[in-house]
Symmetry: D2
Subunit: 341 residues, 4 copies
């Protein structure tokens, strides 16, 4: 069945799969000390124009958020996130497992507002009792957000300015970063992102890899002893090559952005199709996720022909449905959807 | 360079790699809910003759030990392990990160003795002050051990009897389980193992997979809500298929044991070669790891021709060196080694 | 200077102090195994009409909330509290330190509404994705609340009904429990409270003791091995007698309620005085804490004559101020306040 | 019954009790911000000749060890202790609860040897695999040890030299510090101790207080934000005065050392008595704890007349018994013991 269910429905993009096959019988040293990991990291440094960056390759998104936030935060500190942020609601308490509270500000179509972040920090320090409260020790945003929306460069710069003023690091969750960078509405490049935060990650799992997220500390600003920290979280692969080979492939010949662009192109056509059919929008995003409101019967009928994602209940008679494109989405998929609508 | 460095030097065995390629463009649901994961679990249940088993697929060994022990132990409990056990010394504090102490008994060529386990438990409960101490809440052994040695069925049964008598679960770390099962000196089958412990895992990373360990609770005795527990540890892959496809391949047509047998056959020839050359043994094991003592100069000379693993300092002039075979080791590799020795 | 700053400004009430002096040279066994601890627990069981209750004596409120919630919650569970609940905002992350998220519902003058608790639970289980979220594993309320307000018996019963229906324990923080029980507006007795929740604590620190909180599991329903759990939190006093002697004194001859009644009587006179002087109320409570709005200059002027508690900023020109009475408040204190107003 | 059971059998020494009574009706600000806490800290700074010291007052020993070690250690670090150290065996996993492993070296009558500490550190860094192991991040010793023995100044200096060379802090558990300082065999003064470690605590609970331990960071070297750290551990008393008043009394007019000296004087007479009676020594210590070997029948007979502490089983027919003196022990107690022996 044709799928618009999510962006992790398929295996690896062809370039990544080929690289895994090609390197399979190379004997390599373990734990990420191999030359493919080294090369992947170097390619990422180049793509970020961040020659001094510390780069670590981890396996999945929740793991990455947990490891990075544990590295950034002192025990008495929490992380500030939008209420809809992944760390705030969809990680089964992985951040609290590490001992840290997630402090929330309202999400505006998934985005944090710089002034609300600053207000939270100001109110904290203005409270005479703040030593009995959880310190705001880092800020977390997703780019794109969980709703597919994008921060403009000005919006991101405003958030980072608040962070720098209050000396807390800004961490950008880029689980779907490729789909931001490839969007025509995105005015932030990868090198600019590397200058507008303290640490971010480049998502592989949802952008063409079998698994893998590349954490970047742009100025070589990783905390001390990252390897034991990663190992302690059960996040150090014996065959680190699995991640190195994939990211090397993704960052060779512009593969990462190119395959993301396919998702964005297909999302553009999807949006046009939905407009044409008079779909009722819940949220039209500039990236690869689109959210529409369907009458329940219509949703059930459509669900028999196309894989979709139930997102939320809208009202008694309607639901919010997500349609996602990916590097693997084709015009043929859209044609099937058009016929089914 | 020919390698005897370890058993995770190469990518996946051919069957696993082919399965990943063949299934790559199947659209699948995420988080391990896909049919390949279901099929892999069913094949594992069959291989274990444990039709009610709960099976979970995780990514690596330290992660698996951490997740399983966190599931088994109450907060006031620790795990008893041999002093040489992986959880006791080589996981960067992953067990303590979860809040649990590792209580140790002496390792005898890597093995725990049932009577020393019982003595530790007896002394604990005999101590009037034991409510101020860490309760022995589970026992952990590795099979094969970190030194390649094997428990006999009687030895394992004796340990399990102690555990059952004191009502603590026994957890068997099978990171290299295939190399035990394939050893002619092993008198324990997989179905027997499933009856002689409360939970064990079948190692994939070191036995033919790119990554992956299959946790088996043989009688369906997994604690409640394993998915949130796994997610909370950052151990739930979005593309759970990566693990399902690999274990499905490993447990189809006896691949798992067959590729392990190659390692054992090659280890047998390696042992013969080492005997023939009059090597000084540190520990000759019945599985895929062999430990010899080399004069330092000899070690350096050999290390230029063959990848080996430094294991330990033996004395001022000698070192202990590990040579490991794997599913990928060939007669040609042995010929090169023979020439270099 | 006369103080209405809080209810923990003075040492112990005379009965408690006398008991400490009288028992000082009795040689006693440590760690709470002494006869005064035993007698205190028995007196508390009698006062609660809960002959099977498990009772534990701890030192302070945050410690008690942390220990009890760690006992109640599985690692993948969080606690539901009002947004203004002490565990949600004023314990420096003590609950998260134990690995648990605090899930919040709105506070209505400090109180949780049963229907909003149920809605949170229902929405959680209705979400297909809930295994990626933090399970609501217990409910926490304060009685009186942090704002001095009281649940009626019906309101408490409604919350407990929701908890029982969904099989999550209800924990009542009684840091100021005496001031509830002594209030004429309270329609819940101690034996009734013991039937309307799964665990609660009787606050000593704020009701006449130097330190100490008595945790009550009314039906003997404490989780296994409480002593190691308490010890593991650093909460087991070597001289457990310090807590036993104090609670024995508080629960002998009705001291606990009698001294609390003084606070309530004085609070009644305080309210009358404030009404008489036309004070602007922020929140008039039925217990020992009253909240008024003062113009900033007036607040500064008053603060030079009387110890008050700044509570919150109200608007640019006004602040919210708390006045608290206690077992130690006298008519003379009120006269000084009357003169200063 | 006369007691030699331990040094926390009685309430407070007279000076401390009087101070609690005298200050009882002083209205004070909470959470340790009161003038008695300030005065206590200042007196401690003076006694330590450490004018810049950071001083914190906590409630008990295990809590103090937990809070201090959590402050000192990075998440990937453990603490090195003697195998008999309190943190290694008698805190119910409180250190592991904070996520840290306790690494052990042999205990020699309770003492750590500097060379064995150094060997552990050297072996760790010499191991190529050490990033997969727990880093030695601090050293912990008890003074006196759990067996009543003392480090000489040279021994302590040697340990501290190892710590400084390897840049790990040395933490001295002084739960019974008074009994060391008062011992004629002790060649370390309080100001010298303050120069020979990075942090230590002055035990109150076992030396005359109802509860309380004073943590001293001699050069003002406490980590950032100690108050939230303490609060997060549930270790911040609302009535911080309880600790301040007691330590103020203990450090006024030399009370702390004077009352400790009584324990040492009585221990001297106890040792003489035991020698006179031909007691079989297990360990004769220079402080307030003495350990003798008794035939089981003799132990039972004596236990009916005198409170003693069972320490350990010696052999089938004998047990090790501890006799402890304290500030409260009198010649009359010794006379009763002499009659009973």
């Amino acid at each position: 069945m044709v799928t618009f269910e999510n962006d992790y429905s398929f295996g690896a993009c062809p370039e990544v799969l080929a690289a895994l096959v090609d390197t399979n019988m190379e004997a390599m040293i373990g734990y990420g000390e191999d030359p493919h990991c080294a090369r992947a990291k170097e390619l990422i440094r180049q793509a970020c124009a961040a020659p001094d960056a510390d780069v670590f390759l981890l396996t999945g998104g929740t793991q990455t958020n947990q490891v990075v936030l544990d590295m950034l935060l002192a025990p008495y500190e929490g992380v500030v996130a939008a209420a809809t942020g992944h760390v705030a609601c969809h990680e089964a308490g992985a951040i609290e497992f590490g001992g840290h509270k997630v402090l929330t500000v309202p999400g505006h179509e998934g985005k944090m507002h710089a002034d609300e972040l600053e207000q939270l920090i100001d109110l904290f320090y203005a409270d005479d009792n703040h030593e009995h409260m959880v310190f705001p020790g880092a800020a977390y945003i997703s780019f794109p957000t969980e709703l597919g929306t994008l921060y403009s460069r000005d919006e991101l710069a405003a958030i980072y300015e608040v962070c720098q003023k209050h000396e807390i690091p800004l961490f950008v969750d880029g689980a779907r970063l490729g789909y931001a960078l490839a969007s025509p509405e995105c005015d932030i490049t990868l090198p600019q992102l590397a200058q507008l935060c303290d640490v971010f990650y480049i998502g592989g799992t949802k952008v063409g890899a079998l698994c893998g997220e590349a954490v970047v500390f742009p100025s070589g600003n990783a905390p001390a002893h990252p390897i034991p920290r990663i190992k302690q979280h059960g996040a150090l692969l014996a065959k680190g090559r699995l991640l190195g080979v994939q990211f090397e492939a993704l960052f060779t010949d512009g593969t990462y952005v190119r395959i993301a662009r396919n998702a964005i192109d297909m999302a553009g056509r999807l949006r046009a199709l939905l407009h044409e059919r008079g779909a009722r929008w819940f949220l039209e995003s500039p990236t690869n996720q689109q959210f529409i409101i369907l009458e329940k019967g219509e949703y059930e009928r459509l669900g028999k022909q196309i894989c979709l994602s139930f997102w939320d209940t809208y009202d008694e008679d309607h639901v919010v449905v997500r349609l996602a494109t990916s590097w693997a989405t084709t015009q043929e998929d859209l044609d099937v959807l058009a016929a089914a609508l």
